[in-house]
């Protein structure tokens, strides 16, 4: 299942709803393109909704980290919402769960950007 991405604005925050697999190839490329596109539009507060992402490989993890760093470098913030169990486990064993701000509630996630 390839990756799909749509985004919506919630005040100064852009919520990116992702579904599918973030893996080597088109999935990682689409995530990169989406984040870079938002930064180009000066949308620097980004919340990635991963509720429908059930699979990420090392390339996908790398792309998440790359996006996180790119956003931080522009004084923005990138946070994660609604991790599936597999994705949460993956971020935990790679110690990235402590790097990203992770939320289970969208309203709380949006408020955290203030």
């Amino acid at each position: 299942m390839s990756l799909h991405a749509t985004h919506r604005d919630a005040g100064k925050v852009t919520v990116v709803d992702l579904s599918g697999r973030i893996v080597l190839g088109d999935g990682s490329a689409l995530l990169r393109k989406t984040i870079r596109g938002l930064l180009a539009d000066q949308r620097k507060m980004i919340l990635l909704n991963l509720a429908d992402v059930d699979y990420i490989d090392s390339s996908g993890i790398g792309e998440l980290v790359s996006g996180f760093t790119a956003v931080k470098n522009q004084s923005g913030d990138l946070k994660l919402l609604h991790l599936t169990k597999k994705v949460k486990d993956l971020l935990q064993i790679t110690k990235l769960y402590t790097v990203f701000d992770v939320f289970t509630d969208e309203s709380a996630a949006l408020r955290s950007f203030n």
């Binding site: 090392s58 993890i61 980290v65 760093t69 935990q92 064993i93 110690k95």
Partner: protein, 161 residues
């Protein structure tokens, strides 16, 4: 090779599509062998990472090079070999992705994931001169501690203190 060992092998092109192809093939074998959903996920992920490693690091994404995938299904475990046509590498030279200075690295987690998800993992010098990843997972069965659950011996999530 023991007579009750089933052997399957295929030669893959050095293209991105080979990653999915290898994963799908190994998943079919794993499911047929009786592995549960969680173990199939771990096996599939490990095969992906092995072929990504061969594609990117071993063969340097050069299309004239090949990736050799082999599966041995023995009486007690599934063994997967991924061989590339690169120059090989030593595990001791692979940076630790959990080290503080590497946490925000955008690459270098594939070996770690294979080690975490499989029961046995090693890298040897292959007959091509490249690296040969050899990894295995014990077959589920009567007396198996968790036929459908935990992954390799290193799979326990490492929590921050």
């Amino acid at each position: 090779m023991a007579s009750d060992t089933k052997h399957l092998e295929m030669t893959l092109e050095t293209i991105v599509e080979s990653v999915n192809l290898a994963e799908e093939m190994c998943l079919r074998v794993a499911e047929a062998a009786g592995f549960g959903e969680d173990d199939c996920y771990r096996i599939g992920m490990s095969v992906r990472e092995g072929v990504i490693n061969a594609f990117h690091y071993g063969n340097q994404e050069r299309p004239e090079k090949k990736i050799y995938l082999a599966i041995d299904l023995t009486a007690d475990k599934m063994i997967i070999h991924v061989l590339d046509e690169g120059v090989g590498f030593k595990l001791i030279d692979v940076p630790d992705p959990l080290a503080e200075e590497n946490l925000l690295s955008t690459s270098g987690r594939g070996i770690f994931l294979m080690r975490a998800f499989m029961d046995e993992f090693d890298v040897v010098s292959g007959k091509t001169g490249g690296a040969e990843i050899v990894m295995s997972k014990k077959l589920p069965g009567p007396g198996s501690a968790s036929p459908n659950g935990r992954g390799g011996q290193n799979a326990t999530p490492q929590q921050e203190a």
